[in-house]
Structure formats: C-alpha cells, structure tokens
C-alpha cells in the first residue's frame, strides 16, 4: 500500500465533510456573497478567526 491511499482517504474525508455540511446545514447563497476582496470594500472580515476571544476583546 502506498501513500496514494492516504491521499485518497484525506481528500475523501474533506469531500464528505463538505457534502455532509451541505445536506444538513444551510447551503451557501451566492446572492448574499460579500465583495470579492475585503480590502477596498464595505464587506470586511467575518471575525471568525483563531485569535477571537469572546469576553476578552480589546
């Protein structure tokens, strides 16, 4: 068995997560999509970021 098996497992897992989320959650709505780039637009960062600390913000 080669690493190719591992690659197939990893990519399949990612596809499974996306499909699972699509079927059970809210699908994306392209009509509510933000501007292509945050910079220079009015639709900025989502704020959903690793450093986000609710309750201890600046």
């Amino acid at each position: 068995m080669t690493r190719r098996v591992g690659i197939i497992i990893a990519v399949s897992a990612v596809v499974f997560i996306v499909v699972f989320d699509w079927l059970l959650g809210t699908p994306p709505d392209p009509y509510r999509a933000p501007d292509p780039m945050a910079f220079g637009s009015t639709s900025g960062a989502s704020g959903a970021i690793c450093s986000f600390a609710p309750g201890a913000e600046e």
């Binding site: 690493r3 690659i7 997560i17 945050a38 900025g44 960062a45 450093s51 600390a53």
Partner: protein, 363 residues
C-alpha cells in the same frame, strides 16, 4: 498535471458560482499554500525540531523572514482600513502561555503543527490522518473551555499597533524578529540560508498578505477545525446555546452558515487539496505504513486532541497565533513563540524516545 490543474479551475469556478468569488479565491489561496508547503517541504514543527536536535537554523530563519515580510505589509494595511481589515490580536494570559507550550510539545510528537497536520494528511501521512480528526475534536473542546479560562485568569489583549502606532509597531516587530534571528544564528552549526526555504518563505508571505486583502483577516487554521467538529456535535444533538463561545453572534453565524463561506474552513480544505496535488505523483513510491508499533497511532491521536485543545486556549496555533499574531502586532504571538519553543524542546526529546521504542517493537 494538466488534468489536475483543470480540475482545480473547474472546482474554483463552481465555488465562485454557488457561493461567491471571495470564497473561491480563498479556496484557491488555501490550495496554493498547501501546494507550496508540501512542494518546498516548508513548515514549522520540522524546522524547530532540526534546530533543537541538530542546530540547523535554516528553516527558522526562513520562518522569521516570512513573518517579517507579512508584518511589513499587513500592519499598515490593517491600520489603513480599520474595521474592514482586522489583525490576529488576542489576549496574553497564563492559560494562553501554558497552552502554547502544550501545543509546541504536541506538534513535535506528531511532527505536524496546525498547517503541517493538514498538509501531512493531504500528502497521505497515516500519522497525520490519525491525528487530524482528534485535532478537530480538541479544537471544539477547547472552544468550550475558552470562557472558563477567560474567567479564571486575567486575559489582556495587547496590540503593538494600538499601543505604539503602526510605524513603531512595525519597527519593533522587525527588530524582535532580527534579534531572534541573531540568537538563532549564534546557536546554529552550519549555514543559515537555504534557497528552497527562502523561496517558500517569500511565497508564503505573499500568500498571507493576499489572505488579509481577500478575507479581511489573517490566515488561521484551528477555528475551521473546531467549527467542523461543532457542526458534527450539533448533528448528534449538542445544543450550541449551552456554550458561551458559540452563542456569540460571530461564532453563531459561522455555525449556522456553510463551511463553504467560512474563511478558515476554506483555506483548511485548500491546504489538504493543495498538498494532495503536490504529493500525488511521488505518492506511489512512498509506503503508506510507518515502521512503528500500532500504539504510536494512539499517541498521535492523543496529541492531536491536545493540539486542538491547546490551540484554542492559546488563541491560535503556529499559524493563527504565532505567524499571524506576530505579523499583526499582537503581543500574544511573541508569548506563543517563546512558550511554544520551550514546549517543543520537551516534545523533541519525548518523541525521540517514544519513536525509538515504537520502532523497536515494530521490528
């Protein structure tokens, strides 16, 4: 190669139509980052290990350059567009520092940091594949512990750009990186420059800057993994209203929305896909099975779990906390660097001993 490129283009165009151009660009960015990290053999856990074990500073020097170049661009950009663009600013606290040390130790145990575990999994590494689901689970568990940590110890957000202004913050950030570079060079045995790593560092910095311009926030990893696990938990009956972290409007919105519109989820997916693309051809020449006893996979799962918990409590892994934190001018990034490195020293020695044991048992 043409087929793979065509597939990626079709995928990105499809995502642009069904979700939006920004999300397509973010996935493309993630794929490129994953490809670069895998193709150039660049990362965080490996270079730290080589420095600790062999006093080989080439990887660390490249990391410092990548962070410096990113800081030079994103600190002024974020100051220029406040509100639209945000930095990776997080509090410094005792729990944050301990968590960063635990992350440093854990990433050495599986030889994969935040980005590295995704890239390694994408390239078919079985240890990373064992660790990754637990990394996500740990990230979710860590998110439940964040409010407890914040209430139990003082958490002080310190932004150099807010404290000192952008110019001084950039100068201090670059000076700090330079000092670390000089200290590292002092301990180094051998050349400190490596063309391959330097190329990867420059590419990574360019991609990290693009990330800020497109997403409005710096690159991160662990938030997306925790989000996936939170969605799975919700699917089996967990009520997010019982968790202080997830009732916050930003997190509640991420939980309600599609992962195809979540920034860190998209770049995480891209990292796996990009490294898979980079590793695809050579993968047939590399064995899947590692020459170790089966119990080391349990060790990988355990430390994957710790990676997740600790990276949430440290407000980011080596990417969101260290790389993006320092580049944004957050003091927590510097605290992460010191604590994470101390943890890594312990991790290198612990891994070497356990790996030796696991290798002997496998023979």
């Amino acid at each position: 190669m043409v087929t793979r490129t065509s597939l990626v283009i079709i995928l990105l165009l499809t995502l642009a139509v069904i979700a939006g151009v920004r999300f397509s660009l973010l996935l493309g960015l993630g794929i490129t980052i994953g490809f670069v990290l895998e193709r150039y053999g660049f990362g965080f856990a490996g270079p730290w290990r080589r420095f600790i074990r062999d006093r080989d500073a080439q990887g660390i020097i490249a990391q410092l350059i990548a962070i410096g170049l990113t800081a030079l661009a994103i600190q002024p950009l974020i100051a220029y567009a406040p509100g639209t663009l945000i930095g990776a600013i997080a509090p410094v606290s005792l729990t944050m520092i301990i968590a960063a040390a635990v992350f440093g130790l854990s990433m050495q145990m599986i030889l994969g940091c935040g980005s590295g575990t995704l890239v390694n999994a994408g390239s078919g590494n079985p240890l990373a594949l064992a660790a990754l689901p637990f990394f996500g689970l740990g990230s979710f568990l860590g998110s439940l512990l964040i409010p407890v940590a914040i209430q139990s110890t003082p958490h002080i957000p310190l932004s150099l750009t807010k404290l000192l202004g952008v110019e001084r913050s950039v100068v201090i950030t670059l000076a700090g990186l330079l000092i670390i570079g000089l200290v590292v060079r002092g301990f180094s045995q051998g050349p400190i420059w490596n063309r391959r790593f330097l190329t990867a560092a420059i590419l990574l910095a360019a991609l990290a800057i693009l990330h800020v311009l497109i997403a409005g926030q710096p690159w991160g990893v662990v938030y997306g993994l925790g989000l996936w696990a939170a969605k799975a938990a919700q699917g089996i009956g967990w009520d997010p209203n019982t968790a202080q972290f997830w009732v916050h409007p930003i997190n509640a919105s991420a939980l309600k929305g599609s992962i195809l519109t979540d920034t860190t989820s998209l770049t995480n997916i891209g990292l796996v896909m990009g490294s898979a693309l980079a590793a695809w051809i050579d993968s047939v020449n590399r064995p899947f099975k590692q020459p170790i006893a089966i119990w080391y996979y349990l060790i990988a799962a355990l430390f994957g779990l710790l990676l997740g918990i600790s990276s949430r409590l440290a407000f980011g892994c080596n990417v969101g906390g260290l790389f993006s934190g320092i580049a944004s001018g957050s003091v927590h990034g510097w605290a992460w660097l010191v604590a994470g490195f101390i943890g890594s020293i312990a991790g290198v020695y612990l891994r070497d001993n356990l790996w030796l044991l696991a290798s002997r048992e496998a023979k």
